[in-house]
Symmetry: C2
Subunit: 161 residues, 2 copies
């Protein structure tokens, strides 16, 4: 069934999507972390606040799935943010297993002040790319994520939020 995108005889790691994606991720981190830390936050802390800002993930479970972060590790990140008064935990009445996360005004203000820095840096590093190239890159990456997700978790083919 699988097409012959790669062949054993000619395969080199540097032409592998896996390698390229790993490297891009690592480089992106090196670029973004200083931006975030200059505001006094770690990258994961930023990611959590960003998820809440976008209103897509409101509980730890969803954030874990979205950003593929360990559940235990996430608990501790949430602890840190809660201690600094940037978000609040509330048990849901409907399902008391679930925790609902909500940015405090301070938290919202914080993340809103960081976003422009991130956007600016993103635009800066993408300045060599045309609009069309970025669009195509996003499309292909989204498609890649979708198919990879299906391979990791074949049961749920549909995406989760």
């Amino acid at each position: 069934m699988s097409k012959q995108h790669y062949k054993v005889a000619t395969y080199k790691a540097q032409m592998s999507v896996g390698y390229l994606v790993k490297r891009a991720h690592s480089l992106m981190l090196d670029i973004m972390e200083p931006v975030i830390e200059q505001r006094g936050f770690s990258f994961v802390q930023y990611v959590v606040m960003s998820a809440l800002r976008d209103g897509i993930a409101m509980n730890p479970k969803t954030i874990c799935a979205q950003f593929r972060h360990d559940s235990g590790a996430l608990t501790r990140v949430i602890d840190q943010l809660a201690e600094r008064g940037l978000l609040e935990r509330t048990r849901r009445d409907r399902d008391r297993r679930k925790v609902e996360l909500q940015l405090t005004p301070a938290g919202r203000e914080t993340i809103e002040s960081i976003i422009p820095l991130v956007v600016a840096k993103l635009n800066e590093v993408l300045s060599d790319f045309s609009k069309e190239e970025v669009q195509e890159l996003l499309r292909l990456l989204i498609k890649l994520n979708t198919t990879l997700q299906a391979h990791v978790d074949p049961s749920r083919v549909a995406v989760e939020a």
Copy 2:
């Protein structure tokens, strides 16, 4: 100078290249690690052997740069592989600071036996993609890596191997 690929008002993390690349990397790991571990190796161990097989990186320094792995951590991975008799360290005569890494016959046999599994899995997860899509994805990722690299390390604009 920077184009307006992203705007503050409309920015959502899920449309960020950073997010997409991070997620793809994580998913790819989840898919590939079982493949490698089924042969009794960790993913990093595979990466090191793969680098030596491709003949692109022959010393720790280059592997670190290529795969963006920590120098100290890499030393320990090399230790593991050396103990299992899969590679050998030899100090270079030219520059005795450098260590030359070389796969043993056993090591070469091992990595050659793993490559087909990796290639098969790659082709499997990319089966929804057309040849053209994969080509374009690779091109864009390589371009991305190059520009990101320039931002991380502005001194050396030229790529290294």
